[in-house]
């Protein structure tokens, strides 16, 4: 029996579950809502990219030590089969990359990216540019990685390649690999 005051059309009155805030916000995930070219930002499923020391309040920061350490942040979800992350053990851990790539490296990466995506010279591309917002799909991204390998004489492992979402990520990874190679 309908109570007085109940809206007549109950059929479409949604029952909303209590708001559950997601444990992680604003971290690049494997898929982005904006575009299917989400595959281009082929980050590991919950792997944060390198975090610069001057952060907004979005993600907690722990100062790291000397030497390059890439940021990894893993979430254990209910014993689910593990998703392959970039060298991240299954525990919460924050490490901050303390060193950033040289501007020349970033510049070179920008050039290669622009060439692969056939962007005009006046298209603004910087360290913060995300591959997906530049219109790179997954094939573009692997081609960019191969172009970078050729240009810098390095070899990028697939797992590392998947964590690259911005030009800065690529530049940082390149310098890390170049340094490792020459040491």
């Amino acid at each position: 029996m309908r109570k007085r005051g109940t809206p007549p059309n109950r059929a479409l009155r949604a029952r909303r579950p209590p708001e559950i805030s997601p444990p992680v916000r604003s971290l690049p995930l494997a898929f982005s809502l904006s575009s299917d070219r989400s595959m281009a930002s082929i980050s590991g499923t919950v792997t944060a990219t390198s975090v610069r020391p001057r952060l907004t309040s979005r993600a907690p920061v722990v100062k790291g030590f000397s030497g390059l350490k890439s940021v990894s942040f893993s979430i254990q979800r209910n014993g689910f089969p593990s998703v392959r992350l970039q060298a991240a053990p299954r525990q919460r851990r924050f490490q901050v990359s303390c060193a950033q790539a040289k501007p020349e490296t970033v510049q070179k990466v920008c050039e290669i990216v622009k060439k692969q995506l056939a962007l005009s010279d006046d298209t603004p591309v910087s360290g913060e540019s995300k591959f997906s917002t530049l219109g790179a799909d997954s094939l573009d991204t692997v081609e960019i990685v191969m172009g970078l390998e050729e240009a810098f004489g390095i070899s990028v492992e697939e797992e590392s390649a998947q964590s690259i979402t911005t030009v800065q990520d690529a530049a940082d990874l390149i310098e890390k690999l170049v340094e490792a190679k020459s040491s």
Partner: protein, 311 residues
């Protein structure tokens, strides 16, 4: 309400947005595909209408895209997803009302509200786009992945270099058998779309399903698969783990075809085991519409716009 399910062109003069014609739900082995060609959108005010459908978060994402062309593409992609899904709710849900979430691996899916007297259909979807087309695939309660690629797509790197790097040994060997470079190019692209579609159907992202770990190929006819059913005469597309060759992952079925004469399209869908196939026709069924939401829908399934289908 009568479902709009005919082959005829249904064009509405553009005045104000009319309700989307409702569509019948996909059947158990069906994938419905709705695609939009961005260049067909000439009316800028339509873009404002589409923008109205998006959540604030989606709008921001669209505006973050680099340049007008990419923004338009991103906007159309969201509008396509929302309008497509709305069609299957028999007029009860508007495109604007949909909410989306990500599964545990980050794959976008619909976040359904609970209603008291109506159960929304358990639709699953996936989208793919290039600069010249955006496609949305929909199934009823079955994981799906779709990938499209321009037929004319050229790679900067040599095909075999790319293949050696990213494809499985069986796939590389196959590409090597193709002497003609153009043939090799197109087969590479087609194989790429199949592999992408599979990864997207699984929904674990590129990292969860590395390209190198699985092979997609044609399985000759007259072979019995794990289910014990005899396949039809035509060879079929199968997937197997590189570590476990010969054990076909029968759970997944594929379709590969050409769309609009411009794009190779691959669809991967989980096989429906709840509704076992009657007789031999076990393969993935397709229904395809070309659309410009609120303006025009055209069912192109039996036309030249969908051809060279391999399943």
């Amino acid at each position: 309400m009568l479902p709009l399910h005919s082959n005829s062109l249904a064009r509405r003069p553009f005045a104000s947005p009319l309700p989307l014609p409702p569509a019948s739900l996909p059947s158990p082995r069906e994938t419905h595909i709705w695609y939009v060609v961005p260049d067909e959108l000439k009316d800028a005010s339509l873009l404002y209408q589409y923008m109205e459908l998006l959540s604030p978060c989606e709008r921001q994402s669209v505006l973050r895209m680099n340049g007008e062309r990419l923004q338009k593409g991103a906007l159309l992609a969201r509008a396509l997803v929302r309008t497509t899904l709305a069609r299957y709710t028999d007029g009860r849900l508007s495109p604007k009302s949909f909410k989306f979430q990500k599964n545990r691996f980050g794959k976008p899916e619909v976040e359904w509200d609970k209603y008291d007297l109506w159960a929304p259909p358990p639709l699953q979807f996936n989208i793919s786009h290039t600069s010249t087309m955006i496609a949305c695939g929909v199934t009823l309660d079955l994981p799906i992945g779709i990938d499209i690629e321009e037929k004319q797509r050229k790679t900067s790197n040599n095909i075999l270099s790319l293949a050696h790097r990213y494809f499985s040994p069986v796939e590389v060997a196959y590409l090597k058998t193709l002497a003609d470079p153009e043939c090799r190019q197109s087969e590479f692209i087609r194989l790429w779309t199949l592999k992408e579609a599979y990864v997207k159907a699984l929904g674990r992202g590129f990292s969860g399903t590395p390209f190198k770990d699985f092979t997609i190929r044609l399985e000759a006819s007259n072979s019995k698969q794990v289910t014990g059913e005899l396949k039809s005469d035509a060879p079929s597309i199968v997937v197997e783990a590189v570590d476990d060759p010969g054990i076909l992952m029968n759970r997944w079925q594929f379709a590969l075809f050409e769309l609009n004469n411009s794009h190779y399209t691959a669809v991967c869908m989980e096989r429906d085991v709840k509704n076992p196939a009657d007789g031999e026709n076990n393969s993935l069924k397709l229904e395809v519409w070309r659309t410009l939401p609120f303006v025009e829908d055209e069912c192109v399934t039996e036309t030249d716009a969908v051809k060279n289908i391999i399943r």
